[in-house]
Symmetry: C2
Subunit: 251 residues, 2 copies
DNA sequence: TCGATGGATTTGTACCAACGAATGGATGAT
DNA sequence: ATCATCCATTCGTTGGTACAAATCCATCGA
């Protein structure tokens, strides 16, 4: 007698979910093998795999041959978007990301590509560029403890930064924002847009994302004193590793 | 001759992904039926379903019997967490959410449950409650144009608001923050934490989420003049419908 | 002792078959 | 013309089988 209020695989998934959330399987624990679940619930292996696939898509577990199905653990690193605008301690030679990460006792590194291009419409409109105008982009892939961590692509109007240090390959130790200042276009106002979505394939590859990990997209547009956009920074942050924090004073 | 650099279902998924991103299938368009894809790629239906499942998990498409596989469209509504702290126009009778939504020409509504309980550890620690201390929670499920839109659970120290309007069922037209003010505990500082994850089952149910939709979790802790936490608001925002925006002045 | 090797285990991919559930659209009745 | 009904289509669920790929671990050899 079946009292199937929902699909079998849903029932199996619920049972596993409950067990995980209740702590029966803590982070790092291995769930029963597919064969074991098959017998325990009296269903086919297809059904078991469908159930576990749900948990994978929810980001709860990962699977690997022979290793089995493992409960994931997550440790997020705190981001303070506001602090990136503040001056770091005098003499601090590193830019915002490197500084923040090493503050938490972890080892930052990054890979930078610098190139000029006609940006996508979304970027162009935020930078208020004309049709076909060039932008200079600094594409960063950042690592923490050797693992890919996030990406940060910063776009500048080419006209503005073409001849400056920003257009040169490699690190700018004191930070691009400092260079903008020196060019007379310090950012006095920024607008941050934050949303989330599932990653596309190239993001999965670049950031070595596991299945079921959404990404937070974080776009900052910086404006100078004359309200001209001088920088558009697009960050793609794997959701399981990032926590964004803002502190606001009520004025 | 097979040049299978990756799994068959991955190849089919890539092909579909490419077609969607290139605009061959715009929002609302129906992908070929499973049977059609099966024939076109010469694979089994299971393999086709695996491929399409990938797109579903990426939030690119939805499936329904007889309707087929449809390319999703997304329209996000802008949130301004800062504005919720500002006074709304004098005489404006609605609270922040209702005001913001109707500003965009859409129809807000909500359902509120008010209850007292011993909150989960995460909430308790943010509210700096002792062990077993009660909190008052106002649980909101918000709708836009009749569709579930997001949830917002606001926790207050019971000690603080037990006898006030906050503890009564139903709407507080002028907003709970106003009541806090009147109680002498106006929020002068807030800390916003933002992250993302895949939704759990109860969230999928309450918010009628489609598969492959991550949620943004947005936690605001408000402190009064003596730096006591007086409110913890936990919002769960379906990622495809929300865009969070902050505007910061560089001081 | 330490490294290479191979077997066993566990998930990954792929195919086939059958029936259920939902619904768009055609058909027929009023 | 309008509404109810029925059918065909399309996805949803579940069962089965077979072999591939990855890797843990025990065993064997130097």
């Amino acid at each position: 007698m079946k009292v199937a209020r929902s699909a079998l695989y849903q029932q199996v998934a619920s049972e596993l979910r409950r067990a995980i959330y209740s702590g029966d399987y803590g982070p790092g624990a291995q769930l029963p093998t597919e064969e074991e679940l098959r017998q325990r619930h009296g269903v086919s292996r297809n059904t078991v795999r469908l159930a576990v696939a749900e948990l994978v898509n929810e980001g709860l577990v990962t699977r690997a041959p022979r290793r089995g199905t493992i409960v994931r653990e997550r440790r997020a690193l705190l981001m303070h978007p506001q602090r990136e605008l503040q001056r770091r301690p005098t003499g601090e030679p590193r830019e915002a990301f490197a500084y923040a990460v090493s503050q938490e006792g972890r080892a930052p590194s990054q890979h930078i590509d610098v190139l000029a291009l006609v940006p996508a419409e979304e970027i162009a409109s935020r930078l208020e560029l004309g049709d076909g105008d060039l932008a200079l982009v600094r594409r960063r892939l950042r690592f923490v403890d050797g693992q890919p961590y996030n990406t940060n692509d910063s776009y500048f109007p080419f006209e503005l930064v073409g001849g400056s240090e920003i257009a040169r390959q490699g690190d700018i130790k004191r930070g691009a924002n400092r260079v903008l200042e020196e060019l007379g276009h310090a950012q006095v106002r920024v607008v941050d847009d934050i949303w989330a979505r599932m990653p596309n394939q190239s993001e999965v590859d670049r950031l070595q994302l596991e299945l079921g990990t959404p990404v937070v997209v974080y776009v900052r547009v910086g404006y100078d004193r004359s309200d001209m956009p001088v920088r558009v920074a697009v960050s793609v942050l794997p959701a399981d590793k990032h926590l964004i924090r803002y502190e606001l004073d009520v004025s």
